[in-house]
Amino acid sequence: MALDSKIPSGPIEKKWYDHKFNLKLVNPANRRKHKIIIVGTGLAGGAAAATLGEMGYEVSAFAYQDSARRAHSIAAQGGINAAKNYRNDGDSIYRLFYDTVKGGDYRAREANVYRLAELSVDIIDQCVAQGVPFAREYGGYLDNRSFGGAQVSRTFYARGQTGQQLLLGAYSALSRQVGLGTVKMYERHEILDVVVIDGRARGIIARNMVTGELERHAADAVVLATGGYGNVYYLSTNAKGCNTTAIWRAHKRGAYFGNPCFVQIHPTCIPVSGEHQSKLTLMSESLRNDGRVWVPMKKGDTRKPNDIPEAERDYYLERRYPSFGNLVPRDVASRAAKQVCDEGRGVGASKMAVYLDFADAIKRQGKAKIEEKYGNLFDMYYEITDENPYEVPMRIYPAVHYTMGGLWVDYNLQTTIPGLFAAGEANFSDHGANRLGASALMQGLADGYFILPYTLGGYLGGTQFPKVSTDAPEFAEAEKNVKSVIDRLLAVKGTKSVDYFHKKLGKIMWDKVGMGRNEAGLKEAITEIRELRDDFWKNVRVLGKSEELNQSLEKAGRVADFLELAELMAVDALHRRESCGGHFREESQTEDNEAKRDDENFSYAAAWEFQGVGAEPQLHKEELTFEYCKPSQRSYK
C-alpha cells in the first residue's frame, strides 16, 4: 500500500485552517450514535476522551492503572512550550515551528509541526481555564522559563510538576464527563488486540486485570494513546507499566510502525546505582537553566568535586557550544556526556556520570530562589542518592526517556488501518529524530484537545458504518488469538522469571541500539534478540492463572511484545545509515563528532509493515519535503 500523508495543499499557515473547513462534520444529534474507544488516559487520551465526550460522542476510555489520573504523563516535570511571546523576546508560531523542525534534525513532517506550534497557544488558554495552577509573576501574569534547543523563554510550568498539573486538568475534564455519563471509564484494563472488520478498526479485545476476563468492545473508531516504548530498554524513565503491547498488536494487524529506532536518551537522569535498579529517575531539563555541566579536565580524577579548582574543570557544553551552552538539545547533551565518560573523565563510583553544578547559581541568586524553582527536584535527588545538591554537585547521566518513533499516522493522526488513530507518544509524528524539551506535553494535548476532535469527526462523518456485533467472527478470532498467547505463556512453565528476560533484553538494546550504534553491533543485536526470544518462549516461568489478578502474566505479555519490537528497532537502525537526532550511527559523524545527516538518501520517514515474527519487515518510505525550514547541518555552536 502506498503511503498517503494527506497533507493539505496551500501555504503552511493556512493548511490546518482550510483542512478543518474541508473535514466532514457530524451534527450534534448524531454524535451520540457513534461510539469511540480511547486506549490510554494520559495527556493525549485523557484530553481526547474528555473533549469527545463534551461534543456528545459515546466514549469508552481504558487505562491499565487503577485510575485515569495515574498515566505517566503525570511524571513530566519541566514544562510545556507555547508560542505566546509573553516575554516579548521574539517568539512566534513560526519560530516554534522552526525550532521544532530543526531540533528534530529535519526528520519530521513540516505541516504537522506547524499545526502543533499553532495550537500551542490554545493549549495554555484551555489549561488555565481548567484551573491548572501555572507559575505566575507578582503582577499575576503567567511566568516562563527556558528549555533546550531554544533561545527564547516559551516554557510554561507549574513548579517541577507541570505534567502532573496538566494531566490532573485533563483528568478533571474527563471526570466531569464520566459523571455526566458521556464517557464510560474502564480502569485496570489492558488492551490485547485490535479488531479489524472489512478493513476498518471496529473494536478491541481487553483483559480485565482484576478478574482476568477477556472482553470484546465494538466501536466506530479506535484511538491508541498508549504512550511510548522506552521500557524495551528495561531501565528507562518510563513508569514500570508503560508498554508497547497495544501499538505492537495493532502493528501486527496492519498498522505501519514509523521510525522505530528514534529514541530519546535524556541527558539529565540520576545514574544507575546497582544491579537491583528497577527504573531511572529524571532530573528535569529545566535544571540546565541554572546548573552548569562539567567533568574534571584530567582522567581518573578521584578528588571530591568541591576540591577540584575552577581551572581544572571542563565545562564541556559551554566550551563546545558557546551560543547555546548548557541548553543544547537533549541528543547533543547526551552524546557529549557519553564522550567525556568514554574518555575516562566520568565521575562517581561507576565513572558513568557527569556533574550538574548549582554553586554559581546559588551564589548569584541565593539558595531561596533556587529552592523555589527546583525544590522538589533537589529533594527527590537527595532521597535517592543521600547527597545534598545544595552543597555538592548533582551526578547525572543519560537515560532512555522518550520514543519519537511510534505508529505511522497521516495528517489526521490516522494509522494505515482506517478507523485506527494514534495520538501522543504512541504515534511517530511531530518530533522527527529528536524531541525538544517541553514539547511532549504540547503534542499530547494538541492531539487530544484540538486535533482528534476534528479529524475523528471527519472520519466518522465521511464513512458509512454497517452495524457490527461483538459476536462477529473477527471478534471471536481476535479473542482466540489473545487467549492463545496467554495460554502459551502459562504453559511454558520454565525456570526463569520474566524480569530475567526483560533485563537481558534491556542490556542488548542499551549496548547496541542505544546512544551509539554501528553496523556490526546492530547485526549482533538482531541475532541476540532472536536467541533471547527463543529462550523466552522455552524457559519463561509465569506462575498463577489467567482468571485472576496476575502481575507476572501482565509483564510476560508485555515483554513478549518488547522482544519482537526490539528486533524491528534494530532493523530500522541498521537500515538508516546516517546519523540524525537521537539516532547516532558511528559511521556517520562530522570531524568534531557531531551527527552527520545524509539528506540525499535518508530524507524520509521509515514506515515498516509487519510480515511475521522474525521475518524481514517491508519498508515503505514517506519522502519528507522541506519548503520552509531548509535542512542544514544542525549547529548549536
Binding site: R70, Q126, G131, Q164, H276, K279, E383, D386, Q551
Partner: protein, 246 residues
C-alpha cells in the same frame, strides 16, 4: 542488609488474608523499598511460589499508585515520601518490616497489598473540576491571578491521590483529599463560579462512599507524602458552611 518481611497475602476480595514472613537477604542500602520487594518476588518465583501483588507504576513519587502501609505507617517511616521513594538505608539491618495494604472500608482489598480506590474517582466525578469545555477558554493572561493565590492553589493541587491520608486516619476520613481539590479550585478566579455546588457535591459523595468523619488528629498531614496542610481542611469547612447557608 538482611530483613524479615512480614507481608499481607490475600488471594482475592472474597478470601480472608493473613501475614506471611519471608526473609530477604543481601540488600544494598541504595535499593529502594519496592526494589527490595522485587528481589523478594524474584526469590519466590525461583521457589515456584506466586509473587506478592502490590500496586506501583512511576516509581518516582508522583503517580500515587503505590499504597503500602509499612511498619505501621502509610508509605513507611520517612516523612514526605511515597513508598517508591523510600530506600533501605532508612531501615536497620535485621529488622522485621511489616507490610500491608491500606486499611479502610471504602478501599477494599483486591489481592495481597492491592486495594480498590475508585471511591476517589467517584468523588472527583461529583465535582472536582471546573466546567470549561475545550475551546471555550479566553487568553491565559486575560485574568491576572495574584501569585499568592496561584501558589496556594498549587500547594493544594500537589495531591497525588494515593490515599495515605485515609489510611492514616483512625476514622478513615477522606477530608484531606477532598479539601485539597476544593481548596485548589476555590483559590482561583476560574473556580469560584461553581464553588458552592462543588463543595456540597464532593462532600456528599465522600459521605456516600463511607469515609469517616474528621476529628482533627492531623494524622493525614503527618503521613501525606506531598505535605498537604490540614489548613485546607479548615478552608473546606468554611467553604461547606458558607455554601450550606446561602
Amino acid at each position: 542488609m538482611n530483613f524479615t518481611v512480614k507481608i499481607w497475602r490475600q488471594k482475592n476480595a472474597q478470601t480472608p488474608g493473613k501475614f506471611v514472613d519471608y526473609s530477604v537477604n543481601n540488600i544494598s542500602e541504595d535499593t529502594s523499598f519496592l526494589e527490595m520487594l522485587d528481589i523478594m518476588n524474584e526469590d519466590l518465583i525461583a521457589k515456584n511460589e506466586e509473587p506478592v501483588a502490590f500496586d506501583h507504576d512511576c516509581r518516582e513519587g508522583i503517580c500515587g499508585m503505590c499504597s503500602l502501609h509499612i511498619s505501621g505507617r502509610p508509605h513507611g517511616p520517612r516523612q514526605k515520601v511515597t513508598a517508591c521513594q523510600l530506600f533501605m538505608r532508612s531501615f536497620e539491618d535485621g529488622e522485621t518490616i511489616t507490610v500491608e495494604p491500606w486499611r479502610a472500608q471504602p478501599f477494599p482489598v483486591i489481592k495481597d497489598c492491592i486495594v480498590d480506590r475508585s471511591a476517589f474517582d467517584r468523588i472527583m466525578q461529583s465535582g472536582g473540576f471546573i466546567s470549561a469545555s475545550t475551546g471555550s477558554a479566553p487568553d491565559g493572561n486575560a485574568i491576572p491571578i495574584p501569585k499568592r493565590d496561584a501558589d496556594l492553589a498549587m500547594d493544594a493541587a500537589a495531591c497525588i491521590g494515593c490515599g495515605a491520608c485515609v489510611a492514616a486516619c483512625k476514622n478513615a476520613s477522606a477530608m484531606l483529599f477532598v479539601a485539597a481539590k476544593v481548596s485548589h479550585l476555590a483559590h482561583l478566579p476560574q473556580g469560584k463560579v461553581e464553588r458552592k455546588e462543588r463543595v456540597l457535591n464532593m462532600v456528599a459523595q465522600m459521605d456516600k462512599e463511607g469515609f469517616g468523619s474528621c476529628t482533627n488528629t492531623y494524622a493525614c498531614e503527618a503521613e501525606c507524602p506531598k505535605g498537604i496542610s490540614v489548613a485546607h481542611i479548615a478552608f473546606l469547612n468554611r467553604e461547606y458552611l458558607k455554601a450550606s447557608l446561602s
